[in-house]
Structures are given as C-alpha cells and as structure tokens.
C-alpha cells in the first residue's frame, strides 16, 4: 500500500505520525493554513474564510531545547513543547495563528509566540472566565472583532451563509466523533484508546471535510474488522489535561486495560458539544465555545448567584457529565491525569476525586512532565490501581 492509498485507521496513524503531511500539500495547492491554540478559537469562522485550521500541539518525543531561552522551565511542559516546535520551524507552514486565553500560561505563551515567531497574522481571543449572560455577549463581540481581522487579512468579506455551512459541517464532524466513541460502548471496544488519540490528532491536522471522510472510513472499518481490541477486565476513562501523544494511553492499555472513554481536549471534550442553530450563527457559536465546552478553565457555579454552597451539588454541576460517561461506557475505573504545572487541572483533582468516590467509582491521580521517559514509574502505579479495582 502506498502512502497516498492509506485509508481509515491507517491513514489517521499516518497523519498522526507526520501531522504536517496534508497541511503542506494544501499549502502547495494555494490554500491558507492557520495554527490555533487550545479549543477556544472558533474553527467555523476560519473554515468560512476557506482557511484550514491546524491545532498547535506539542511533541512528547522531542526534547525541549529552544523554548528554555524564552519560557521558564516551571511552566506547563505541553506549552513549552508546542512553543519549542514553533521555534524549531515545525510550524513554519502556518499563514498565521489564532491564540486564546485558555489558561494563564496559554495566554502568556501566545504573546511570547507573537514576539519570537512574528506570524503574518495573529489574533488573540480573550475568552471570558465565566459563562454569565454578559460573558456570552462579550465573547460574541470578540468573535465579531476576530472576523474583522480576518476580513482585513484575507481581503474577503465573511458571508453568513458560509458561516452557517461551516457550522453544519463541524456539527457533522461532532456527530461522527460521537458515533466513533459510541463504538466503544461495546465490550470489547471496537477502537483502542491509542487509536482514538491518533484519529483525534489527525482530525485536528486536516480540513474538516476531509476529517469527516476519514471518520466515516474509520467507523466502517472499526465495525468490520476482526483485529480490534481484545476484551479486558478493566474499562477505563481517562480525565484531565491535554493528551496529544499515544504513549500514556499505550502504557495504560499495555497493562491489561482498555481505555474506552476520555474527558480530555484532544478527545471527547473537543467534539461532544454541538453548535445550536441560531439566526445569527455567532450566538450559537459563542454559546457553544464559551458555555458548552467543559474545560475546567471556565468558572462554573451550580446555580447562578447561589448564596450557600452545597459541595456535592457543586461537584455534580461540574462533573455530572463525567458520571454520565462512566455509566454509558460502562467504565470501572478512572485515571485522573495531568501534566505538571497545570493549575487548571491540578486544582480540580481532589474535587473530582471526591465526586467519583461519592459515586463509588475507583480512581487514581497521576502526574507527568510530558515526556515519554516519565511514564515508566507511572506504569507501576497504574498496575497497582488495576489490582485495587479487582
């Protein structure tokens, strides 16, 4: 089979292994490719301008050598890795970047990216922290400004119809990802957790229509193949900070478990919320990206303006969807994981642990420094955890 002929899961793996593969071809065809950081840059807008979005990720295998000259070592190693790749020219094919206020270091690294990499187009989306009505309006206003900058960059005017079309095609992608994840409700799951990472990374590296074709191939293949994952006693959900490399999941799956579900941002978190159809598409988009994305970077309260805090109710409002996943995917253990120095996830750990314990769901917290070498000692902890589940 030649490189061009690969399809489905093999094609996803191929793109995962060489993320820029398709993007560079697109560039050669004259298409613009725009890097974006985290989940908050609204992809529908880029697509409506006929720009291919490409998610900025790190590379666990690549030692960080250049970023240290611009960023201290005590910040999120994922961000440092992504920035390191930028400095090494791995993202030189971008026509520009769209950054956002994901977290403190995400914000600062965005500005640092602009200073050191000097992209032709740069826009920073200042995502609000709360989901109040005023915050939604504020975010919508920011999307209008974002559109203005793209209009001046591309020399094109955004058409509402094209934006609506983009919403539809992304919603199709989200539905297909759901369908893919649904395949893992069976026992054994039809797609391994490792393959899921490869597919998600591939989706974030190619245009949305091509992603949809890829997903259809993957779903058909997974349903038909006989060499899928084996039945194992442990069906795990992995929660936490970004996982854009297969190493961690491979390690977990190599000790006798299937990772059947995730709540991470190169996974279900990025795809499960859909955009509601609204007269002004920006209303639906602002709502989906600010309110529906379930990243702990956003401040949620169980009840707006509550004057007394009920801890379990609070946890339920923040993590209730994880409980639903656990039920639907018949999960019997949860791995809470985070990269070191991630405050967004770090502060959540005892809370989500309490919530899972309250619902009698075994869980364990593991922390790593976004390098393959750091995974070895974690292997023993995961093994011990599995023994505990029994």
């Amino acid at each position: 089979m030649t490189a061009e002929e690969k399809k489905g899961i093999a094609r996803a793996k191929e793109i995962y292994q060489d993320r820029a593969l398709r993007a560079k071809e697109l560039k050669a065809e004259g298409k613009q490719v725009m890097g974006y950081f985290c989940l908050y840059p609204v992809l529908e807008v880029l697509t409506a301008f006929d720009i291919a979005p490409f998610r900025i990720l790190g590379d666990m295998k690549e030692p960080i050598t250049k970023a240290d000259a611009c960023l201290p070592t005590v910040v999120c190693p994922f961000v440092r890795s992504a920035f390191d790749l930028g400095l090494k020219g791995r993202y030189d094919f971008f026509d520009g970047v769209v950054m956002c206020h994901s977290c403190d270091i995400g914000e600062k690294a965005s500005h640092i990216w602009r200073i050191y990499l000097d992209p032709s187009y740069y826009h920073f989306l200042d995502t609000p922290h709360t989901v109040h009505k005023a915050a939604q309006e504020q975010f919508k206003g920011q999307l209008e400004d974002f559109i203005k900058t793209l209009e001046s960059f591309t020399g094109k005017e955004l058409s509402t119809d094209k934006l609506k079309e983009a919403v539809e095609i992304y919603n199709r992608q989200r539905a297909l990802v759901r369908e893919l994840y649904d395949l893992n409700k069976s026992d054994p799951p039809l797609v391994s957790g490792t393959e899921i990472i490869e597919i998600m990374v591939a989706l974030m590296s190619i245009p949305v229509d091509e992603g949809n074709d890829l997903l259809k191939q993957v779903i058909t293949e997974a349903k038909e193949r006989s060499d899928g994952p084996q039945k194992k006693p442990y069906r795990l959900l992995v929660w936490g900070s970004v996982i854009d490399n297969t190493a961690l999941i491979e390690m977990i799956e190599s000790v006798g478990a299937n990772v059947v579900m995730d709540d991470t941002c190169v996974g279900s978190r990025a795809y499960f919320p859909v955009v509601e159809t609204t007269d002004d598409p920006l209303d639906g988009l602002a709502y989906r990206y600010l309110v529906e994305l379930k990243c702990p970077r956003t401040f949620w309260e169980a009840e707006y303006g509550e004057t007394k805090k009920d801890y379990i109710k609070d946890l339920d409002s923040r993590f209730g969807y994880v409980k639903d996943y656990i039920k639907e995917w018949d999960v019997n253990g949860v791995i809470l994981q985070s990269v070191r120095y991630c405050d967004i996830h770090g502060y959540e750990v005892p809370g989500i642990g309490d919530y899972l314990n309250h619902n009698s769901l075994p869980n364990i917290y593991i922390e790593h420094d976004y390098s393959e070498g750091a995974l070895a000692p974690l292997r023993t902890r995961v093994q011990a955890f599995l023994e505990l589940i029994g």
């Binding site: 270091i105 946890l315 502060y347």
Partner: protein
C-alpha cells in the same frame, strides 16, 4: 553596635513618612482582625486591583486576602504545616504556595471547627463569601472553587478582560470590555444585597471609589519622582507602603493624607538632590516580590551603590487618567481597573512589544528610569509572576543593553532564595552593567 553594623543600617536612606503610613496599614489589619472576630461579615478575597474592594467596603463587608495571609504565615514560619496538610489532602505540590497554605488552613479549620491555634495574627475567620478574581492567574479562580471542600461559603468571580496588545486598540474593544465589567459588577452588587440582606449605599461607594482613585494617583505621581538622579526612594519603601494602595489596607482618607506627606518628603529630596542610596552607581529594576526574609541583601547591595528605583508592574498604581466625566461609580471602578491592566498597551504596540503588562513596563521603565540593570526574583510556585521574566530579561538586553540577573526564590518556601549565590551573581552583573553602559553610550542612548 559596631561601626560596621551602623554603616549597614544607613546604607538605605529610608523615608521618614514611610513609618506612619506603614503604621496605618498595620492598624488597618488589626482593626480588621478585631472586626471579624467580633462577627462582622467577612469575605475572603483575591487581590482584585480595586475592582471589588470598593464594593465590599461600601457594603461594610470586611475583606481578608488569603494571598497576603500566605505571606504572613511564611514570615511567621507557620506555613509549612499548612502546606503539608494541602499535600495530604491530595492537591498537587506544584500549585501556588499561597493557595496551598490557604487550603491546608481551611482543611484544618474544618477539622477543628475553629481557627487553628497556631495561625498567626489571629488567623482568618470563616468567610461568608469567597471572591475570585479573573485577573492574571488561574489560581485566583481555581483555588477558591477548590475550597468548597472545606467551606460552605458561596463563590463569586469578578471578570477582568485581558485583551492582547494590538486587539486592545481595535475600535470599541475598550468600551466593550469596560461595559462587560460594569454589567458583571452590577450583578455582583445585586448578589451581595441578597447575600447580606443589606442595600448598597451608593453614596458611600462613590466616595470610596474616589478615595481609591486619589490614593492611586498620588502613589503613582510619587513613584514617578523616582526617575530623577539620584533616585530619592528605594524599593524597600515602596514595598513597605504599597499595601495602602494595592489591598487597599488602612483607613483610605488617612492613607491619602499619609501618601501626601510621603509625596512631600520625596519632592523635598528631589529638590535637595538627596538619594535613597548615598552613592548611586547602579539604578536597578526589581522584578517580582522581594525575598521578605532576606531584605538585608538590599542594604548590602546599597553599599555597592545599587539603588532600586522601580519594581514590578503588578504592584504599581495605574497610570492616571481623567475620571471626572464618569459619574457612575461602578463605571469609574471598572475603568480604573481596566486602566491598570491595559495602561501600557498603547505604548507597547508602538514599540511592537506584545506582552503589554508584566514584561513591557520593564522595557519602558528601563529607559524612562534610566536603569543599568535588573534583579529578577522568580517565585517558583507563582508562575504568573515568573513566566514573563525570561522574556523581559531578553528584551531588556537586546533592546536597551540593560542586563538582568535571575535569583530564584518562592513565596512561601523561603529557603529557596540563596543569599550568597545572589551576591556572587550580583558581582558578575556589575561587570556586565559596566560593560553595557559603555555600549549604550556608543549606541547614543540617553543613559
């Protein structure tokens, strides 16, 4: 006292007016502790740069700042037990030291049902509200959310937009951001009224908002006088007195009067050409909070002619602007806070510097305060205070030939600061400063 000791004590010429100002701050703390002990409703609040403080004060809610209390516990040597407790509760050890201190404290308080006896300065009483701030770091939201484990107080977050430098100058962005803050603050007032069962005293709010603007104005103007040679006021005086503006601690009217006295004293020194350091050889920037337990290092450096003339942006008052046409106190409050956050952005954009706060002010000040070098003190567990320092170091050198040294420390783990090593590095920095001074002159720069 030996002659040497006498000499060391005098190396920095402290401002006389600093003492009563500090006393007012301390008195404010004591009053606050007494009031909360007497059962006055208390909010635990993140430092919020005057966005929520005036509203809480106008509603007669006492404010306790756990960030500040973290520093108190560290200074009293009481932080470690609380940090250990936070670790035992399962919170990652890399988190903000002040947050871990507070989490450990809250866990202990819940367990005992009362303020832990080892808590210094009377401890922090059980709050009726936890007030997060959207400013700067994630800890300012996530930490109080996590406290739900131990406290049943409601949590509220005041929003603070953080536009990019160029984005902030787009038409309408400033207005929209302020409008957003205003809307959120109005909701906050409604919420507080429900929580306390009291009505907002709008006249009082108006007065407090004005007081804080006036305090910040005089504090800003006073610090501007440090641009002259020799610089009349050392960073030590800044740190001793900044709380009257930053928190804002102490009676505001009294603080205003005392800042005015301080202004007069600094002005007199400017007129008389009196420096805070006898022979000012190196005009220095200090980056981040100082090593509180090792402040004597500044005396030793002062003996070598180091005069610290400016410090980190985050603790400074906003650039003054005209608020007289803003009749609504909430809008005035939001405008001042937004001004603090974005006040340097327009100039930053002109220079194509895209980290408009934290890093850019150092770059501007290096020129306007005519600095020779910088001493950066990154705080290992406060990443917000740390993540821009390498950038600032790089930009200062490449743009102005102003070298900076880095001496690591922490906000609660006081042992991290290596005094002897810092002094060794300081000697090396002196050589670099001498060299770069010549380069600046060759480049035709003003200093």
């Amino acid at each position: 006292m030996s002659d040497e000791k006498k000499k060391k004590k005098k190396a920095i010429n402290r401002l006389k007016t600093m003492y009563p100002l500090r006393a007012n701050i301390d008195k404010g703390y004591e009053r606050s502790v007494e009031a909360t002990k007497a059962g006055k409703p208390t909010a635990w609040s993140m430092v919020n740069w005057w966005e929520a403080d005036p509203i809480l004060k106008a509603m007669d809610i006492e404010i306790v700042y756990p960030e500040n209390y973290g520093a108190v516990c560290a200074a009293f040597g009481k932080a470690q037990a609380f940090l250990d407790r936070s670790d035992a509760e399962g919170f990652p050890t890399h988190m903000c030291g002040y947050a871990r201190n507070c989490i450990g404290y809250a866990a202990k308080m819940k367990e005992l049902g009362e303020i832990p006896s080892e808590a210094p300065m009377g401890g922090m009483p059980k709050p009726m509200l936890l007030l997060c701030s959207g400013a700067l770091c994630d800890a300012r939201i996530k930490w109080f959310q996590a406290l739900g484990r131990y406290l049943d107080a409601p949590v509220w977050t005041v929003e603070m937009p953080h536009p990019g430098v160029e984005e902030s100058q787009m038409p309408g962005v400033r207005e929209k951001a302020i409008d957003f803050m205003v809307k959120e603050l109005r909701e906050f007032v409604v919420f507080l009224e429900r929580l306390t069962g009291r009505k907002m005293d709008w006249n009082k709010l108006d007065e407090i908002a004005n007081d804080l603007i006036a305090i910040n104005k005089i504090w800003y103007d006073l610090n501007e006088m440090r641009k002259v040679r020799p610089c009349p006021m050392h960073s030590r005086d800044f740190w001793t007195c900044m709380n009257a503006s930053l928190f804002p601690a102490g009676d505001p009217k009294e603080a205003l009067r005392l800042y005015q006295d301080m202004y007069d004293e600094v002005k007199q020194r400017v007129d008389d050409k009196i420096g805070a350091v006898a022979n000012e050889k190196y005009r220095m920037i200090f980056g981040e909070l100082p090593p509180w337990h090792a402040l004597k290092i500044f005396d030793e450096l002062a003996e070598r002619g180091w005069n610290f003339v400016i410090e980190s942006w985050a603790y400074q008052a906003p650039k003054p602007m005209d608020y007289s046409k803003i009749s609504d106190p909430i809008e005035r409050i939001a405008t001042q806070t937004y001004q603090w956050l974005t006040g340097y952005f327009e100039d930053a954009l002109k220079e194509k510097e895209y980290m408009g706060y934290f890093a850019y002010p150092y770059i501007e000040w290096a020129r306007t305060f005519q600095c020779d070098g910088a001493l950066f003190h990154p705080l290992i567990t406060c990443r917000t205070a740390t993540n821009h320092l390498i950038l600032a170091q790089d930009r200062l050198l490449s743009k102005w030939n102003v070298p900076a040294m880095i001496a690591e420390g922490d906000i609660v783990d006081l042992n991290l600061f290596d005094y002897a090593d810092t002094m060794r590095k300081a000697e090396v920095l002196e050589e670099m400063m001498d060299h770069h001074k010549k380069v600046r002159q060759e480049r035709g720069l003003e200093w």
